[in-house]
Every structure is written in structure tokens, then in C-alpha cells.
Symmetry: C2
Subunit: 468 residues, 2 copies
């Protein structure tokens, strides 16, 4: 028919639409770290407690926003693993959806600032409901033009079953939000409980199912061909999109400090003339710690990106569970610039400075540990998820392990050293910052020396560890 032919001719690959969506979502996920970073932490004992309370609220908002936005992102991935081609209409609908997703952090920060006011809940629920409606329209539109769908679904016989299943999953969230917004007028605490359930629903229902299947044996309800919208931890996750999203977060986080520096750290000519006798160098020296913080955080974020990049080079298939661990790692990465900024904000050798350095170490440690755990999870199912040469015993296995373990080990070492030698904590921290990039450069050599040493010490007769 002419309409179908036309439909085909205007069909486009969804690649760039998804890359753009990933960029938007990754920016929005990390944006709530800015209010945290811009909270002035005074070295004043009186104000300290109230500031710490404010800071804790803001950090909570950041973490919850990150979680909610990544949940929205996961739903977006699910949707566009089913719909693999787009046309103009879908692209425009997706943009409308994105506009509402980018508004979510604001409604969420209203909720956090005014927990007892229903307006925040209503705005949030309203956004989520409209997003759900748009996604349903997208699904209906795509199923009415099957050439837009994933080939596996296109040729499947139970197309209608798929459609209904997907619509059911998508509409679950808006319907629960509808109830949450009604309850908010009656008893608003219940609304928060409902919202929390919405976010964790897939995980709760999945763990319940898992427990049940372990208790009474395998129970499989969906048809075997059902690959999408299963909520199983090993449900495939588009590796390309995980990479694009992570790249976005790493890029924003790496540049967060330079944004501040460009805006705030250009001195006023009048001030330079008056306070520093016209000497720009003297005026800029006051900002020295900021530059140091910038280079330190850029290098750390850059190297964590490098480790992530190396890891995903060896991953052949990403799963939901790996995606979840990746989200946790990224949430910690988002806090890094803040931690680095704190490191240089306090007077030398104060208790605050020591704390800031230790917080930085803890954040780097967790960011690294979650990256490592992605690899560990991948190793559990290495035939499916990893390239053969990084399998246990593979040629690159030890080298990859060393790459992933370097940051957690260094962070842990710095943490304990700064506890013991608290007087030299800053020097230890700077030394760490300078050494790590070089350690990555010569890591292959280091690993080879280490292995040779181990072989020499413990098993001089084995030869399967020779090639790294």
C-alpha cells in the first residue's frame, strides 16, 4: 500500500535519537550535585551543624534524583530495545518525553524542600503520568507500524500479547502515581510510601519471584520467546546505551569544576588594582587551590572513565544487574568534584581538611569497587558476557584485574595512611594524584614484574602465567 511504502521510506535508524536522549538524561542525572557543590561550607563551629543538615538533605536529593532518572532511563532503554526504527513522529514524541524527564529533578527538589506540601508530589506524579501516557502512545504508534519494531518481535506470532504486556508494564507506574496523587490529599505520608514502592517495584517483585522459584521450584509464566520487559537480572541491556550514558556522566562530571572556575574565578579588574596593586599573578594565586582541585578531579574522573572504557571493551553483552552496579559507580563519580573542591577549601592541617581528604578517598574507593564488581558479575557468566581473552586464566585477565583494582587499592591506602600520618595527609593525597596517572601508563610492565615475582616465589615450575 502507498502509506506503508511511505512509512518505510521515512523510517530512520534510532541510533542518534538514542545518543541524544542519553546525553540529555546523563546531564539531568548529575545536575543535582550542583546545589550540593555550591553550598558554602564555613569553617565556623556554630553554623556547622545547620550547614551539615542542609548538605545532607541536598546529597539525599542528589542520590534520589540520580536513582529516579536512571529508572526513567532504564524504561527508555526497554522501550527502544523493542522499537528499533523511528520516524519523524516518534522522534517528536520522544523529545516531548525528554522535556518532562528533564523537569523531574526540579519537582523532586521541591518535594525535598517542602516535604509536607502536596504540590511537589502532585507535580512529580503529573510529570510521571504524562511521561507514561506519551510512552503508551509511542508503543501504540509503533505496533500499528510493525516495520518499526525489533525483528524478533516483528516475526513473532504473539504480537498482540507483546503489545499488551508492554502497555501493562508501562501503565503500571502512571496508575500508581495517580493513586499517590489522590492519597496526597488524604494522607500524604502514604504517597511517599507508594512512590518508593514504584521505584523499587521491579526489584521487589523480582526478588519475591526468585525466592518463590527457589522454594517451590522453577515457575515460568511468560512465553519462552519473551526477551524484553522481563525484569530478570540477566535481561540484556543495550551495551551501546550504557556506554553513551556513562560517557555523558563522566564528561559532565569532569567539566563541572571548570564551569565554576570560568564563571567565578576571573577576578574583577578593580579588585586586582586595589587589593593586589595591579598584580594579576598575585590575585590568581588566591585561586591556586581551585585549579589544583580542577586538575585533580579531571584526572581522577578521566582515569575512572579510562578504566570503565577498558572494562566495556571486553564486555560482549551487558545485563540489567551490571547496569545497576554501573549506576551506583556513576552516582559516586558524580560526587567526586565536590569532594575534591572540599579538599582544598579548608586551612592546612585542620580537622576539616583531613575529613575532606578521607571523604574523597571513600568516594573514589566506592566508584572503583562498583566498577570492579561489574567485572566480577560478568565473570560469573563469562561465556556469555566477556571476550575469551579476559576469562579466568585468559591472556588479559590479570592485567584487567590490575586496572580495575588500582583505584580502590590506592584510595584505601591513602585513606589509612592519612589516618596514621594525619599531619601529612595533604602531601600524601597530592602524591597519590600525581602518581596514579603514571601508574596506569606503566601498568602492563608492573603487572608483568608482579607476576614474574609471584611465579619466582611460589611456583617456579608453572608456565601458564608467563604471557600477559
Amino acid at each position: 500500500s502507498p502509506s506503508e511504502r511511505e512509512g518505510h521510506s521515512s523510517t530512520q535508524s534510532s541510533h542518534r535519537l538514542l545518543a541524544y536522549s542519553d546525553a540529555l538524561i546523563s546531564i539531568i542525572a548529575t545536575v543535582m550535585i550542583l546545589p550540593v557543590a555550591h553550598t558554602k561550607v564555613e569553617d565556623n563551629e556554630e553554623l556547622r551543624e545547620s550547614v551539615q543538615l542542609l548538605l545532607t538533605t541536598k546529597i539525599g536529593v542528589y542520590l534520589m534524583t540520580f536513582l529516579i532518572v536512571t529508572v526513567a532511563w532504564a524504561a527508555h532503554i526497554r522501550l527502544f530495545q523493542v522499537i528499533v526504527h523511528i520516524d519523524d513522529c516518534l522522534a517528536l514524541l520522544n523529545l516531548a518525553c525528554m522535556m518532562l524527564i528533564t523537569f523531574l529533578p526540579y519537582t523532586f527538589s521541591l518535594m525535598a524542600t517542602f516535604p509536607e506540601n502536596v504540590l511537589g508530589i502532585l507535580l512529580f506524579c503529573g510529570c510521571v503520568m504524562v511521561i507514561g501516557l506519551i510512552q503508551s502512545v509511542i508503543v501504540l504508534y509503533a505496533f500499528s507500524r510493525p516495520f518499526l519494531l525489533n525483528e524478533q518481535i516483528q516475526i513473532s506470532e504473539n504480537l498482540t500479547y507483546y503489545k499488551h504486556h508492554i502497555l501493562k508494564v508501562i501503565m503500571r507506574v502512571p496508575i500508581m502515581c495517580f493513586f499517590a496523587s489522590i492519597f496526597s490529599f488524604i494522607f500524604f505520608q502514604l504517597s511517599y510510601v507508594l512512590l518508593a514502592i514504584i521505584i523499587f517495584l521491579p526489584y521487589i517483585s523480582q526478588s519475591l519471584k526468585w525466592c518463590r522459584s527457589k522454594a517451590i521450584g522453577q515457575v515460568e509464566e511468560t512465553p519462552d520467546s519473551m526477551l524484553f520487559y522481563t525484569y530478570l537480572p540477566n535481561e540484556p541491556l543495550s551495551k551501546e546505551r550504557v556506554e553513551a550514558f556513562s560517557d555523558g556522566v563522566y564528561a559532565i562530571v569532569a567539566t563541572l569544576l571548570i564551569l565554576d572556575i570560568c564563571e567565578d574565578n576571573v577576578p574583577d579588574p578593580a579588585v586586582v588594582q586595589k587589593q593586589f596593586g595591579g598584580s594579576l599573578v598575585a590575585a590568581l594565586q588566591a585561586y591556586g587551590p581551585e585549579y589544583l582541585a580542577y586538575f585533580g578531579s579531571f584526572a581522577t574522573v578521566g582515569l575512572l572513565w579510562f578504566v570503565h572504557h577498558s572494562l566495556f571493551l571486553h564486555v560482549t553483552k551487558a545485563t540489567r544487574f551490571m547496569g545497576l552496579l554501573n549506576t551506583f559507580s556513576l552516582a559516586f563519580v558524580g560526587g567526586l568534584p565536590l569532594a575534591y573542591q572540599l579538599t582544598h577549601e579548608f586551612p592546612r592541617n585542620s580537622q576539616n581538611e583531613l575529613e575532606a581528604i578521607q571523604i574523597s578517598c571513600v568516594i573514589v574507593f566506592f566508584a572503583g569497587i562498583f566498577q570492579l564488581s561489574i567485572w566480577v558479575v560478568a565473570l560469573y557468566n563469562e561465556q556469555e558476557t566477556l571476550h575469551p581473552y579476559v576469562w579466568y586464566g585468559g591472556r588479559e585477565h590479570v592485567f584487567m584485574l590490575a586496572k580495575l583494582a588500582l583505584y580502590p587499592c590506592v584510595a584505601l591506602g591513602t585513606f589509612f595512611l592519612s589516618c596514621i600520618l594525619s599531619k601529612f595527609s595533604t602531601s600524601i593525597f597530592h602524591l597519590m594524584e600525581i602518581t596514579v596517572p603514571f601508574a596506569f601508563l606503566v601498568l602492563r610492565l608492573l603487572v608483568r614484574i608482579g607476576l614474574a615475582l609471584l611465579r619466582f616465589l611460589f611456583c617456579p615450575n608453572r608456565s601458564d602465567l608467563t604471557t600477559v
Copy 2:
């Protein structure tokens, strides 16, 4: 040899490294719009002139930063069109290079604020020199491992010629910066002239060459096989990277306003209690214009992205000249959120409001016109650069033209309407904001009706325009 085998095994596709670099560079290119956006424009006649001067300086810094960063980006593309595989060492060197590129905007804004101080020039030149050195190291490293290079170069006989030519091109800029930094001590105005020459050098030398070749006939100095580093306007440009860079800019620009809203527009509970009697709705109504500005600018940027996306779907090969036009378009897109914010900052029916609306129209117009001109340039060489169905007379040609022309036409119309009916300028502007997304949704229908009308009016006997 074992080292070569090992080299091959650790060789990686450069795809993700380049995507990450594009993300970083696009963030940095647009960041200098923030100081412009955060300049408070008072509706006060006395302060107005000094604020306007400050604003003009900041806009100048923004545009120059955008230009310089895109020049650095173009150099980065050139480099990684020659080096198509990477290994760990190159990835780390590239990260070091990125760190310095992200620092460039700051040095540039120092130069703009303290034009008579040599420090800004020295910092800028220092950064550029180190970037040049790192890039030279990258080239030397890659040519010592030819399996990292583009296949065309790998099999070419004049590998050494290539190496020297590329090194010569890369080192040209740092060497000129070296002289500029020396001159800055003697006669700093000359340094600025030198820096301007550096930026425009490729264009100047190219137009000189072109003039000469037109005057005295074709003069070709490089071997025919030379495809890269030619600085010809039709030198191929990685389409993938143009898309990734543009996506980054569009994503940052679309979210710029929500970043501000999330940070600044959550009212203080104490203020709400005192000034608005505890009514959050009343407090938020004061921010109404900000939300409107956000949705307006998100929609406009999103739709301009949509047009860009549609255009590049039909582009098969991007050239330097198309890249340059794309840069101009993106520079205007970067100013959009600022213009939209201004639109809602002034009292209704004031002269300032009218001016802000007209500035918005002008920015949208230029962003759209440069997109259109990319297409016009592509059409000049349509066999090479476009898909057959958008060639002149092709099935999708008129539809694509309508898509590209919609925003410039609407912006022009709004501009003139707001001149004539200056009292209703705001209403006209809002009407435009609401209508345009729907116009895009039904554009295919509109084009078909328009063509049918044209056919009916002018040439009822022709039939080659029937299928759109």
C-alpha cells in the same frame, strides 16, 4: 615479533574515546554562555550602558571561545582520522590533551578581562604549546606502530612523507604561539595579531591558494594520494563526530535553563512562610516566567536538533565547509536559552521586552539559516554528499526543504509581526512557540497540500511533483 603481537592484542577501536572527547569538547564550547546568562540585566537606565558593555564583552568571549574550541576540535578530528585504532597509551595521552583543552576557555576569559596583562596570553600560549607537544607525541607513537593507522596510510608508500607533513601542520600552531608569547613581553598587541592569524591561518592560506590557482591555473603540490590535512573545503570530515559534537551542544544548551532552575528556583521555606503565608503555589507563581522560558527554549533547541538530525540522516559525506557552517549554527543555538530567559525577565510591554523577543527571533533565524546553508552547500555536490532521494527533484527534496525552512520563516515572520504589532509581541511569540511543534508534526501533510496547490495553480499538466 612478540611486541607487535602484543600491540595488536591491546589495540582498541577508537569509537568510544572519540565520543567521550566530543562530549567534553562540546560542553567546553558552550560553557562560556553561562557568565553571559548569569549577568543580571537591570531595567535601570543608569546602569544599562555599563551592563551592556559587560554583556558585549562576555558575548564576545563566548563566541571566540566557541570558535577556538571548535578549531581545537577540528584538529582533533584530523588527527584521529589518521589514527583509527588506539591503545591504552594513546587513550591516556588523549585524556591529558583533553584536560588542557578544557582549560582554554578560562585562559581566554582572563585575556578578555585583562587585555593589557601578559599573563592571559602566556597561559593560553602555554596550553596550546603543551597540547601541540602531546599531539606530536601521539603522532610519533602512532607512526611507530603502523597498525594503529588508517588503512589507506598504512599501505601507502610515502608513510614518512605523511608523518612529516602531519607533524609540520601540528607544530605550526605551537611554534607561532611560542613567538606570540615572546612578543607579549615586547609589544603585546602583536601577540593578539599573531593569535588571530593562528586561528584563521588555514582559511587564509586556503583562500590565497584558491585565488592563485584561479589566477594562474591548477597548482597541486601534494601527492594525489594525500587525503588528510589538506585544508581544502571539501576535505572529508567524520560525519559521526560532527553528529556527536552537535548532539553534545544541543543537549547542554537544552538543559542549561533547568540547571539554573533546579539551583535557584526552589524557594526557601522561611521566605514562603513569611512572604506568601505558607502558600507554595503563590511562591512558585513568581517563577512562572522562568518555567515558560525553560519549556520554550527546550522545545526550540529540541526541534532545531530534530531538523539537524533529519538533515544529517540524508548526508552521506560531511566536508570541512559543512562543518564550518554547522559550527556557526551551533554558536547561535548556544545563545538561545539566554535570549529566551531575557524574553521573560522584563515587565510586559516594555521596550526591553520587545528587544528581547526580537533578539530571540534573530538568533533562531540565524541558527536555522546556517542549517539551511549546510544543505545548500551539500546540494552543490549532491552526488557525493547526499542520498539520492533528497537530490534536486528527488522524492524527499521538497519535504526536507520545508523542514529546514520552517524555523527561519517563522522567526522572520514573528520578527516583523512583533515590529508592526509591538503591543502584542509577547502573545505572538508565545503563539509561535506553541504552534511550531505541531507544524512539525503535520509538516508532511502541509507540504503535500502546498504542492498540490502549486500544481493546481501553475502547472496542472506536470506530474513529477506528485509524490512527496
